[in-house]
């Protein structure tokens, strides 16, 4: 039935199931948004991780830093995303709808989430392992990069998955304030819903966001598995 609807030229159908037809009719625009959406979801997480690594390491290294660091990052995460999007330009002196506005706000969220993840990941390294590394002559830096971070990969990767997937949904919110990404589909759906409800773009937005989240999540999962063959080693006895 969906396929019939898609093939039919009567693309004005307002059935929610008509989203595929809607997609075919606006293919290049939708794919462009999907592409930007993907970049906006991934890059802030990467930048966020780079910033969170030293912050997480510091709050692990200096125990007194951990509680305030967790409070501050926790508070950052409670700021509603739409408010943060609107606040970024005046705070940083950018023009409204500057292309950096959304990535900066999303990076803030990623950092907020990942500082705890990095600190807890480093804490997941067994004490014996750290002591052995120190005792056989690893310097602090070498130990961090050759032992602690590799062993913390499973915990950090789990955090990256959460951050990336939640970014996909927050990018969509940025679409509703005018940034060009899949969020636009929701705005279009809303605009076209007067006087009667018109669902296809809204459903298409949801479907593409979910698919994007699934694909990005799988990519991180696969990369993590490749990076941690030791996790799949079957324990003795």
């Amino acid at each position: 039935m969906i396929i019939v609807a898609a093939d039919s030229p009567a693309s004005a159908s307002s059935s929610p199931w008509h989203f595929f037809g809607y997609f075919m009719d606006h293919r290049s625009e939708d794919l462009g948004w999907l592409w930007t959406h993907a970049w906006l979801s991934v890059v802030p997480v990467m930048v966020g991780l780079l910033i969170a690594l030293p912050l997480g390491w510091l709050s692990r290294r200096y125990g007194w830093l951990y509680p305030p660091m967790m409070s501050i990052t926790g508070l950052l995460y409670t700021i509603p995303s739409i408010a943060l999007f609107v606040l970024v330009p005046p705070l940083l002196g950018l023009s409204s709808l500057d292309p950096l506005q959304v990535p900066i706000a999303l990076t803030v969220y990623s950092v907020a989430l990942l500082v705890r993840v990095v600190a807890d990941g480093l804490a997941s390294v067994p004490d014996d392992v750290n002591q052995a590394a120190t005792a056989i002559g690893y310097t602090r830096a070498r130990r961090l990069f050759k032992v602690e971070l590799p062993v913390a990969v499973p915990v950090i990767a789990a955090g990256l998955r959460v951050a990336t997937v939640s970014n996909v949904s927050m990018v969509a919110i940025a679409g509703t304030i005018g940034m060009s990404n899949l969020g636009q589909l929701f705005q279009i759906g809303k605009d076209l819903s007067t006087p009667t409800a018109y669902y296809p773009p809204i459903v298409l937005g949801i479907v593409l966001c979910v698919l994007l989240a699934l694909v990005l999540d799988s990519i991180i999962l696969i990369l993590t598995r490749l990076a941690t063959p030791w996790r799949r080693a079957v324990p003795a006895r």
Binding site: P126, D128, V129, Q131, A132, A133, T134, A135, I136, G137, Y138, T139, R142, V147, P150, V151, V153, T228, P229, W230, A233, V234, P235, A236, R237
Partner: protein
């Protein structure tokens, strides 16, 4: 050689973990630090490689004050084994062993080849080389821990309760192999344990520490057992120390008695005729003792042969060049009171009873 000169570790709250310790760990020997928990033995060990810095006094490693060496640099020249091995979970066994050589700049390929050789030396099959630590048992992991510590061939090794977390049977194997390996390598070893039996078994010399980090006595195991310096050491060393001390002295010539024996293939009648006091010692084809047979138990049902099920196999067997302890134990554990003694090749040599062994021990005391 490692020398502690009035080395102390005092924490900011004033408690002393180690209090003015003077101690020498000679080159090529195993020095064991033993004592109850809180005696500062692990702290003392860690002061050597500066995982803990002494608050006063000095520690010299081959006449070099360790406080003047950069810690990471210092540690690369000192092997270290800890209780749970602390293997790197993300590296294969062979890469775990190669860690220090690779860090010191050796070619990875060469380091791995050396690691394979070491794997064999610590008694592990090559098939373990490409597994991860989680796939090995505790005892196997500990062997890898020892291999990793000796991989760069450091002259000094520090061992912190390395065999405490494995079961008693595996522990004994690891101890035997550790002594064999040390026989080949001749490292300067400082070994920490809370187990006095382990200390006595492994140590060339044993330092007993008391709570508060003070040295109570430093002596050879035999000296410690025969001549504890005070009540603390005496209690710590244990009640049966007189008996255990006999484990350090080899017997001289044993006045062995001849004993009639039969082979497993003999008929029951032959065995019964040869028996002495109703008991006959049964040997196998290679003339190695199998057990005592009581004539009263009778032949195997429905035949006239010896019933192997009836053999009493509980007695220990001592070697002609064994220790007083081994020979006395053979006599005490034998159902006939006659302890079985074998030659170096394991063949039956003769018997000796407890009274004779005790006489030997006493006459030794008079002679010395």
């Amino acid at each position: 050689m490692i020398r502690f000169e009035a080395a102390s570790k005092t924490y900011p709250d004033g408690t002393a973990a180690v209090d003015a310790l003077d101690l020498v760990a000679p080159s090529g020997q195993i020095t064991v630090l033993v004592g109850p928990s809180g005696c500062g033995k692990t702290t003392s060990l860690r002061m050597i490689n500066r995982m803990i810095d002494a608050t006063s006094g000095r520690i010299l490693l081959d006449d070099q004050d360790v406080a003047k060496v950069e810690p990471a640099e210092l540690r690369r020249g000192i092997g270290y084994v800890i209780q749970h091995a602390g293997l790197f979970p993300h590296r294969t066994i062979v890469d775990n062993i190669a860690s220090v050589p690779v860090m010191l700049g050796r070619k990875k390929k060469q380091a791995r080849a050396d690691a394979m050789e070491l794997l064999e030396r610590v008694g592990l099959d090559h098939k373990f080389a490409h597994r991860y630590p989680a796939q090995l048992s505790g005892g196997q992991q500990q062997r890898v821990g020892v291999a990793r510590a000796v991989a760069a061939d450091p002259p000094v090794m520090l061992m912190d309760e390395p065999f405490s977390a494995v079961d008693p049977v595996v522990r004994e194997q690891l101890q035997e192999e550790f002594l064999r390996l040390q026989g080949e390598l001749g490292k300067t070893i400082v070994f920490v344990t809370h187990d006095i039996d382990e200390a006595i078994k492994l140590g060339d010399q044993v330092a007993v520490l008391r709570v508060g980090g003070r040295l109570a006595q430093m002596a050879s195991p035999a000296e410690l057992l025969s001549n504890p310096v005070d009540d603390f050491v005496a209690n710590f060393v244990g009640r049966d120390r007189g008996y255990r001390a006999l484990g350090f002295e080899a017997v001289g010539t044993l006045p062995l008695e001849s004993e009639p024996t039969v082979s497993l293939a003999s008929s029951f009648d032959e065995a019964a005729q040869a028996a002495q006091d109703g008991w006959i010692l049964v040997l196998d084809e290679a003339r190695q003792p199998q057990g005592w047979l009581a004539v009263a138990d009778g032949p195997a049902s429905g035949s006239d042969s010896i019933n192997p099920v009836n053999l009493r196999r509980g007695g220990t067997v001592a070697a002609v060049d064994g220790t007083y302890r081994a020979v006395l134990d053979a006599a005490l554990s034998s159902p006939t009171g006659r302890g079985v003694v074998v030659g170096r090749d394991g063949t039956f040599a003769g018997t000796i009873n407890a009274t004779q062994v005790v006489e030997l021990i006493e006459s030794r005391g008079v002679a010395s």
